[in-house]
């Protein structure tokens, strides 16, 4: 009988990350300084990022060694299992194989620690005492506070106030790891105080929380800033998912025909697919399917152009599929997928026609999550439910014997209120009117 879980021995855990930058068919458009519209000088970034991370962001090297102390923490939960979802296949009546790469087994419950751990490590190496970051739904803040606790560092999380109030368990978990957390806008920063003065009841936004975390880092010598998605070095760290998957499929005697993942900023999906890019470019028929919510259809309906990463226009300009940095996605439960842009590396590949993108309504994704729960037993995060929906639709179209692999990015133990809303029929589906997107895109800078 075939194994349900393909378990990679610890000795086989990858010791290098794969950097896709040198393999992109078209070179990546550089990040631009928001003032001068010229490529960003790496030295400018050193105020908020450690040198090692900046080097990785721009590195031309295809393979980057994973430091031993990072491997040591990875080994608390890695290698993660690749699981054959036989019971789901049976329920669907499909003749293809479905596997899922289970990143929910990390201490923080998602793939996010894969980059939080090296980011904490590199900061520690360079004498940084504290890392500041923002978090929306809370997954990233949890992962970074976990990673900081592993290296004995302080961690400050600015959490969008509306989520801070809605999700008290996230705050408690971040506190348990020793992290401090503030509802954003907060009294801790000039930006926060100014906003509170203007509007004491301001519910906050991810853009505002980014501004607070960046200001905190820029104004304290011992503190740097950390981002949990979008940037090249984050995607680099996540490639350990795909590298392990490649070895595990080989152990099972399989090859991937379809790779599926959900996309918010794009790091979990990129982590799965990028290691397979060289094989695809060499002619292997591997289809890569990015799944996003119809309420935030960045890859399916956005424009590929330079835009700001945040509402407040503080970040460098990135060339990406965007719905406009002033776009306000509807309040869907997959909070991690509510981002107006996407990782530039992914957008580059979508533009090249190497990645397919699909968008689904949230109730259809919860239906898929429920089927997964009642067949495979595990409770997926709302973000992950999009990957499951995409995998199911892919499996229905796949030929007998083909292999569908999706990335199971996180569990839903702290998202049960979303399931309750779904089960009691309270969920609304959202399309986004074309005119709103057009309006938001008017704010985008016009480059070159």
């Amino acid at each position: 009988m075939d194994d349900v879980k393909i378990v990679l021995p610890e000795s086989e855990m990858p010791s290098k990350w794969y950097n896709a930058l040198p393999d992109l068919p078209t070179p990546l458009a550089p990040p631009l300084d928001p003032q001068t519209k010229k490529p960003v000088d790496p030295d400018q970034l050193a105020v908020i990022f450690p040198r090692a991370v900046i080097e990785q962001e721009l590195s031309p090297e295809r393979w980057i060694p994973i430091p031993q102390p990072v491997l040591d923490v990875y080994r608390l939960y890695r290698p993660t299992p690749l699981v054959r979802a036989s019971r789901l296949e049976k329920a669907l009546g499909v003749k293809c194989k479905i596997y899922y790469k289970n990143e929910s087994v990390s201490p923080a419950g998602s793939h996010k620690p894969n980059t939080a751990i090296p980011q904490a490590y590199y900061n520690k190496q360079e004498g940084v005492k504290r890392i500041a970051t923002e978090t929306g739904a809370g997954q990233w803040g949890t992962a970074l506070s976990f990673a900081c606790s592993m290296f004995g560092m302080a961690c400050t999380v600015y959490m969008v106030k509306v989520s801070y109030n809605q999700k008290p368990y996230r705050k408690m978990l971040i506190n348990a790891y020793g992290g401090e957390i503030f509802a954003s806008p907060s009294e801790m920063t000039r930006t926060g105080r100014a906003m509170l003065e203007k509007d004491p009841d301001c519910a906050g936004s991810l853009g505002l929380a980014i501004s607070e975390a960046v200001e905190d880092a820029a104004t304290h010598d011992d503190t740097k800033y950390s981002l949990g998605s979008v940037l090249n070095h984050v995607l680099l760290h996540q490639t350990i998912c795909g590298l392990e998957t490649e070895k595990q499929l080989a152990m099972a005697g399989d090859k991937p025909d379809y790779l599926v993942g959900c996309v918010g900023g794009g790091s979990n999906f990129a982590g799965l697919i990028l290691p397979f890019l060289p094989r695809k470019l060499a002619g292997e028929n591997i289809r890569m399917v990015a799944v996003e919510p119809k309420a935030c259809p960045t890859l399916t309906r956005g424009q590929f152009r330079y835009d700001y990463g945040d509402v407040a226009r503080l970040t460098p300009l990135l060339k990406m599929h965007t719905l406009g940095h002033s776009f306000m996605p509807a309040p869907i439960h997959a909070g991690g997928l509510r981002y107006h842009g996407d990782a530039p590396i992914l957008c580059n590949l979508v533009d090249e026609g190497l990645i397919d993108a699909e968008a689904y309504y949230q109730t259809d994704c919860f239906d898929a999550a429920k089927l997964f729960l009642q067949t495979e037993g595990f409770l997926p995060a709302p973000e992950t439910s999009h990957a499951i929906k995409g995998a199911i639709e892919t499996a229905k179209k796949a030929k007998p014997g083909e292999t569908v692999v999706f990335l199971y990015s996180g569990h839903g133990m702290l998202d049960l209120a979303s399931y309750d809303a779904y089960m009691s029929g309270k969920l609304t589906n959202f399309d986004y009117p074309e005119e709103n997107i057009v309006e938001a895109l008017k704010d985008c800078p016009v480059i070159g």
Copy 2:
């Protein structure tokens, strides 16, 4: 470098449970009919339990095969990892080895599915359509609703009302698995209605919830009852934990000097230690340490005598260490450890001097959990924190090179409110006054 996680291949997963009954140095005292005080006739139990389970409860066979459909569901999460807690060892400065058997990786987040799955299966085999049960903190109700969903059965959970209101996520998770859940006392049973008539604001108790679930099963032809701890068949199913541990220690070239676990009804601890009983009886120096809360010190301060399993005196009389069935433990956060009695098999072994018992205050257990979280990364359930505290104290006394293994029974993702109370200094420690125990024991029946 040694592996952090000792992973047993699926092909090595035990295919039989170990039944300790024939190996007990002193035969187990039989359960008695609460009316006649004579040994219970197995036929009486058939109203609420399936035949296969009743047979296992009394079986003289040392090895009992695990049915293939049960193995198929076990394989969704089993074998579970045995993990070397090197970072915890280092933080403690101990020279012994500490391992933990991680049962939190199951879909329900605890060891409970190990018995929920076979119980659901045996009921299904005998044509039962629905299983009724009670749950206190919610772990057991979650596990049974998960198991029922795997076999396409209905599940009804009576959850103690005070917990039902305090822990809304448990209810949502049980619903997500397709289970129905009622706050107990409920309008669904005669017992519940009678209680509500007397006291509409009754907060409920585990004893009352048991009564409702038993009545539900006894009054519906297609419905049986299921219990998540204490009884012999439950401990039997949990032995898969210890059987795997034995193989995993052998893989690592180690032998256990200390086996540690927390005890509520006793099923997780028994699951770990019972498979090592033959080796201990053969003279191997394996010390077995049962850890309980000082607020509910059943093994350390209870009397070994016949008592009822529930407040309402509906269950058979069991010979066990008891604080008296009318004993009301203080409201500690480890809800799963608040039981006046313990599994008869464990109590038998404690009485023989084969198991040591220790009791700790809850704040000391949370301190231990925090150290575990900040070294090993994972968030333990409050019940599990007692096992961690016991393992730490054991490790401090162990000789260099000795091996301490503890059972990590569940994660604490749905117990974050308890951590919040702990971190904000709101936790109280409870001793239980001797006179209260003496008073509660006056209610116990005097046998023979």
